[in-house]
């Protein structure tokens, strides 16, 4: 790494510089490991970029170091917060750390809504303290690995959370197995899900423990994601296959991380399936002179094989309407992951949730936050989770407020068990929607054999294409089918 030698450490002797560079390298690697433990993906090439960036800035200026590392290591706005916390823990001088987590961020002019710092910026942190930060940095870097890991603990964590974090680090070193460091975040989502949880608790007693576990499991899915791949035998094909055929309400807690990953992959498949680039056209349009000549160059320019223009295909707009009422709570993991997965990967998707009424949730996914934050905020702010089901009223709201979204190229994707009051009126609204869009596709978690004993479903079947969708395999089949014909 040639860049190592170019790290300027002014004011130190050559031995000190060499020593300092080694410490810096060790510390940087350690810092990156901590970031990775916080689910920030950093490649080797990005680590090298970070080193090269450090050689280009004034390393005695804390702010410049932060910006250099942030620009090269963290490529998502959502990860910036984690980065800021870890950076503060690793690189802030002790007196700043002692002032608490909020103080650390001050004086850092972000390119966004931060307290205004006109004409200041990176140089300011240095001037403010007027100290030899480089020396402090090196002194600080000499702390033991254990001390540093303890520093990465988030401010405000309880004793239990801190203990769990330390245990996680031990586990990363191959010691005893424990919980993931993102547990507190996941717990936060757990609290948010409480409301839905409480509402359906009554059902749990009747329907067995699976529904109850599902809530806690949503959280665990985030936690264990990192470690699933490390677990011996994880990802075995047979396990994966059995998971594909398991009813999603019966899937064991330990499998939720893999369910989450599979749903994410399937959602991405849907997003890429509707790419319009490689579609074959049946109908012929105008002659495409350019492609025709290109094709016939090999015939000496004689036009033998004619090529035609084809009409450009617009990607269909997808409108996702998900049932989050009490009766769907057993499928909480599926619904939550499906909303999140699809809303994040399909461009231009409009997402709604409904129970007694309908609510637009598209904006929650535009903020680019991660799974736990997005879903926590969605659940906290929405009053729909776990209520009764009134599809009629919900579709009425849709037609009243969002009618403009309905267009001949749009697909409406409904995820629901179709258990609703006022089914006839709901079917009438569904018909109106069907008349205005290309198709209505309904993913029903109830088994197909029960549909025809159910008056509501028979009504809805007149105006939509309904697919049974209670296992991942069924979801896979639906997404692979010609569901979205463009």
């Amino acid at each position: 790494m040639k860049n190592e030698t170019s790290v300027p450490l002014t004011g130190h002797s050559s031995n000190n510089i060499e020593n300092g560079i080694n410490i810096l390298l060790g510390r940087l690697v350690e810092f990156i490991h901590t970031l990775r433990r916080r689910d920030i993906r950093i490649s080797v090439s990005e680590t090298m970029d970070a080193l090269a960036a450090l050689s280009q800035v004034d390393i005695t200026d804390l702010e410049q170091v932060r910006i250099a590392l942030s620009a090269t290591l963290v490529k998502s706005q959502y990860d910036r917060k984690s980065f800021k916390d870890v950076f503060g823990a690793y690189f802030s001088p002790p007196e700043i750390k002692m002032q608490g987590p909020n103080v650390r961020g001050e004086g850092y002019a972000e390119s966004g809504p931060q307290p205004e710092e006109a004409g200041e910026g990176p140089v300011r942190a240095k001037k403010e303290s007027d100290r030899d930060w480089g020396k402090e940095f090196l002194d600080h870097a000499r702390q033991s690995v254990e001390q540093n890991e303890r520093l990465a603990i988030k401010p405000g964590w309880t004793k239990r959370q801190k203990k769990q974090f330390i245990e996680t680090i031990s586990r990363m070193r191959g010691e005893s197995r424990s919980e993931d460091p993102s547990a507190p975040l996941a717990r936060k989502a757990g609290n948010s899900l409480e409301m839905w949880h409480e509402e359906v608790k009554k059902q749990v007693d009747q329907q067995g423990p699976s529904a109850d576990q599902s809530f806690q499991s949503v959280l665990k899915s985030e936690l264990d994601k990192t470690f699933v791949s490390l677990a011996p035998g994880s990802g075995a094909k047979s396990d994966r296959e059995s998971l594909m055929y398991e009813d999603m309400k019966k899937i064991a807690e330990k499998d939720f991380p893999r369910v989450a990953l599979l749903i994410k992959k399937l959602s991405r498949r849907l997003a890429t399936r509707i790419s319009r680039r490689y579609l074959k056209r049946r109908r012929r349009g105008r002659l495409d002179i350019r492609r025709t000549i290109r094709k016939n160059i090999s015939f000496g320019g004689t036009l033998i094989d004619l090529k035609f223009h084809s009409k450009k295909v617009q990607k269909p707009r997808i409108i996702l309407i998900c049932d989050v009422s009490g009766s769907m709570a057993r499928y909480a993991v599926f619904v939550i992951q499906f909303i999140y997965g699809l809303s994040n990967v399909v461009k231009g998707i409009e997402s709604f949730i409904f129970s007694e009424d309908l609510e637009r949730v598209t904006l929650y996914f535009k903020k680019g936050a991660g799974f736990v934050d997005t879903m926590s905020s969605l659940i906290e702010r929405s009053g729909q989770w776990g209520m009764g089901t009134n599809l009629y009223y919900s579709l009425d709201t849709f037609l009243e407020k969002h009618r403009r979204l309905l267009s001949p190229s749009a697909y409406v994707l409904i995820v629901s068990d179709a258990q609703t009051i006022q089914p006839l009126k709901a079917a009438a609204n569904l018909r109106e929607i069907r008349n205005r869009v290309k198709d209505v596709i309904w993913l029903n978690t109830l088994p197909r054999e029960t549909w025809y004993q159910n008056m509501e479903i028979c009504e809805f079947l007149k105006y939509c294409r309904m697919f049974e969708c209670s296992t991942l395999d069924q979801l896979n089949r639906v997404l692979n089918s010609q569901m979205l014909t463009v």
């Binding site: 490649s43 800035v57 410049q64 910006i67 706005q77 205004e116 006109a118």
Partner: protein, 296 residues
């Protein structure tokens, strides 16, 4: 400005001279991208000044700006190169007629018959250029993968000719509105910058530069009102900085020197561009609250 002699302060000053008001942290990131010879990936909401960075850089370095506007369906033929088939065909016909000297196949696939598109033009340029790949989140993932080779090695492969290596490393700026996630591979090759909506004070400074006729008082009122509008998550499209500028100019054109309920009602359509958003703001924030920003 010479890239070798570039300093953070120098770049900051140059940005200001070009009328680009920003924090120094933004300049440090741009500086790093330039010094490391890496593409700069700028993410942020529409209208926060992402594209402008490419334009400002071209002016600062007195370099040609080559812009590739991305859209769904953009492919290599439109972004990289295309053979000039008409010319090739004419050449073949002339050869048949016995005009010209003996031609071999490779002559038909030489630079003479190559039509440069923005990407090839950027790496083939003798002089430094700024390559602006705008709204990269609009292209399909296949095209993103195609960009990898260009952005990591600054070279492209043309099957009939071989590998074309950049004569000089262009300054590359990619922008994204975050309509979808950019792939990790592309992000890995870039230096990352996120631009959020400006603070009130920053927006006042921008307004003073871009619409000086509005004066400080009106600029501050407009900036506060726009800030209040942006804080509402219920609207579909948040106002861009250019719309704040347009609003200030519109108010000046109407002879308004301070925001009032009346003037807001008359001009809210300048800053909010659809009926639902206007209704949402009037209902949830209220014209009165927007007008009250003068007292804040």
């Amino acid at each position: 400005m010479d890239l070798k002699q570039l300093t953070i302060d120098g770049l900051y000053k140059a940005f200001e001279e070009q009328g680009y008001i920003c924090e120094k942290s933004l300049v440090v990131t741009v500086f790093l991208a330039l010094k490391l010879g890496k593409p700069l990936l700028v993410e942020g909401a529409p209208g926060v000044g992402k594209t402008e960075i490419g334009k400002v850089l071209s002016r600062v370095f007195d370099a040609e700006l080559i812009r590739l506007q991305c859209y769904e369906g953009l492919d290599e033929n439109k972004a990289l190169y295309e053979w000039n088939y008409q010319k090739q065909l004419l050449r073949i016909q002339l050869q048949k007629e016995g005009v010209g000297t003996g031609m071999v196949e490779r002559d038909l696939f030489s630079v003479e018959y190559l039509l440069e598109r923005p990407l090839l033009k950027a790496i083939n340029s003798e002089k430094p250029v700024v390559l602006l790949i705008d709204e990269v989140d609009k292209v399909e993932e296949e095209f993103e993968a195609f960009l990898f080779e260009l952005l990591s090695d600054f070279q492209v492969s043309i099957p009939e000719m071989g590998t074309v290596i950049a004569r000089q490393i262009p300054i590359v700026v990619l922008t994204s509105n975050r309509e979808r996630d950019i792939s990790d591979g592309l992000k890995r090759r870039c230096v990352y910058l996120f631009i959020d909506y400006p603070t009130v004070d920053k927006e006042v400074r921008i307004l003073q530069v871009k619409a000086p006729e509005a004066g400080e008082r009106l600029s501050r009122e407009v900036a506060r009102a726009v800030n209040l509008i942006r804080a509402n998550d219920g609207i579909g499209k948040k106002p861009a900085i250019s719309e704040s500028i347009d609003w200030a100019r519109a108010l000046v054109a109407l002879g308004v020197d301070t925001l009032s309920q009346e003037s807001i009602k008359q001009t809210l359509n300048i800053v909010l561009k659809n009926k639902e958003d206007i209704e949402t703001i009037v209902r949830e924030v209220g014209v009165k609250a927007l007008a009250a920003t003068q007292k804040a």
